[in-house]
Point group: C2
Chain length 300, copies 2
Amino acid sequence: MAPTSRPEMFDAMMQAVIDAGGEPAPIAEAVGLMWADPAAAAEFPGVVEAAPQLEWIQLPYAGIENFADQLDPSKIWTCGKGVYAEPVAEHIIALTLAGFRHLHTSIPATSWPKQQGRNLLGANVTVIGAGGITESLIRLLEPWNTSITVVRRSPGSLDGADRTVSMEGVAGAVATADVVVLAAALTDETRGLVNADFLHAMNDDAWLVNVARGGLVVTDDLVDALTGGTIAGAALDVTDPEPLPDGHPLWELENCIITPHVGNTPEMGLPLIAERVKQNVELWIAEEELIGLVNVEAGY
Amino acid sequence: MAPTSRPEMFDAMMQAVIDAGGEPAPIAEAVGLMWADPAAAAEFPGVVEAAPQLEWIQLPYAGIENFADQLDPSKIWTCGKGVYAEPVAEHIIALTLAGFRHLHTSIPATSWPKQQGRNLLGANVTVIGAGGITESLIRLLEPWNTSITVVRRSPGSLDGADRTVSMEGVAGAVATADVVVLAAALTDETRGLVNADFLHAMNDDAWLVNVARGGLVVTDDLVDALTGGTIAGAALDVTDPEPLPDGHPLWELENCIITPHVGNTPEMGLPLIAERVKQNVELWIAEEELIGLVNVEAGY
């Protein structure tokens, strides 16, 4: 286990290892490395190079782009995939409802606002990405009578989705949506996916919700779309650049809701990642397949 | 059917009557009156007095306090009870998530805000009132792993609630809540229910959500509670007075979210009340019990 700038995550992971029957060991003797500091990616290569005996590396987040160039295929890599899915799916619903229910106009108001709003109940929801967040979103929306279209990279339909289409069908899938949710990993394939063409394919009364990574969106194109009425609004928990700098045009747009990457906060996520580490250490000891395996080739 | 300041509601109700096999008739010859104008309660007594042959009166909203002194027990009275429940339950979730996810601080921000937030997932939800809105809320939250306590007037537990208590137990029921939802009718018994004592019984990190009627809350006591940190925040879709006048202290409180009585908007509600009228006319013709019967004695 690496030293860390997040002592409470270090402590929680250490406890999880012990609870699972694992034995904390110096890095030079360990078979597994639990990387407890999402921020300290720069220290990572040196630590791993100095411990060639490592067989398994557990990364702390679901998105691993900071570690993607370190993925040595001779080792087993796991990440926080799926761990933070439920809080993030909840945040998708919070942001979508905020847009549909016009909280972006009501909250800043200091006078009785105009009555307006629409329902998420029965709405068409298109989700880009078919990972744990999407699975959780489908589960949470089960009683909401929504029609859910999932756009995914790999073939095969997703349980609970009304329609699953491949990336080639993305323009058609967003054209019918009341809300388009970005829940995909940031890869060479998805970087800048939401550009002017994508935004023009959306309905002009639809919302864009991004809880994945800011780099999925071409920010300048989004500013144009929000200013010009190409779409109704955007709710962004992640931005590019992130954090969004003071004075950025998105701050001034009434139809843009920005939250500071809180799909899960450290407080929400800590017990969840600790539980995942515990599960994986138990599985490792039992010589079973680990949860949250990284696809080393695809980089997520 | 009475003339109306809401022509689109008049048209929708008229069409619903015809679709159900009913026959529109002049008021002096009608057996049933579909009152299509929620605002025009002042005209109501005159219309009804001039038509003593009326057997059944359908009111347009779920809350009927504007008509309560007109409830002649020799007639059958129905109202919009349960009709608007699903959109209002959705709005409860929108408001609760807005508070829990700190949208009241993020939306007005023009600089990357502090990371904070908590989950509705797994939270303790206490609902005052056990009508259609509460039933819908329970249904929508079914996959959210919440613990729901319902405080109700009449005895008996409510399907899907984890705990049902009587009004005498209200202080205990709100003490354990992460969010207290007001979804009760406004009656002599419930007016001013949320006073200083009620608010002090709540957790200091809990939110109050009111989608019912502003008169359930003693507004001055709420201002004090929000200013003094007695509770974390309030999200109000209804206020007392309503509309909230310019310059009212609630407008200036960051931890108070106000929406302009849009639990259901006219656009959301119109197809729903029209469907209810159609159902009730069909039931009337079939001589079956109507839906949304008013309890004339209790006044709701």
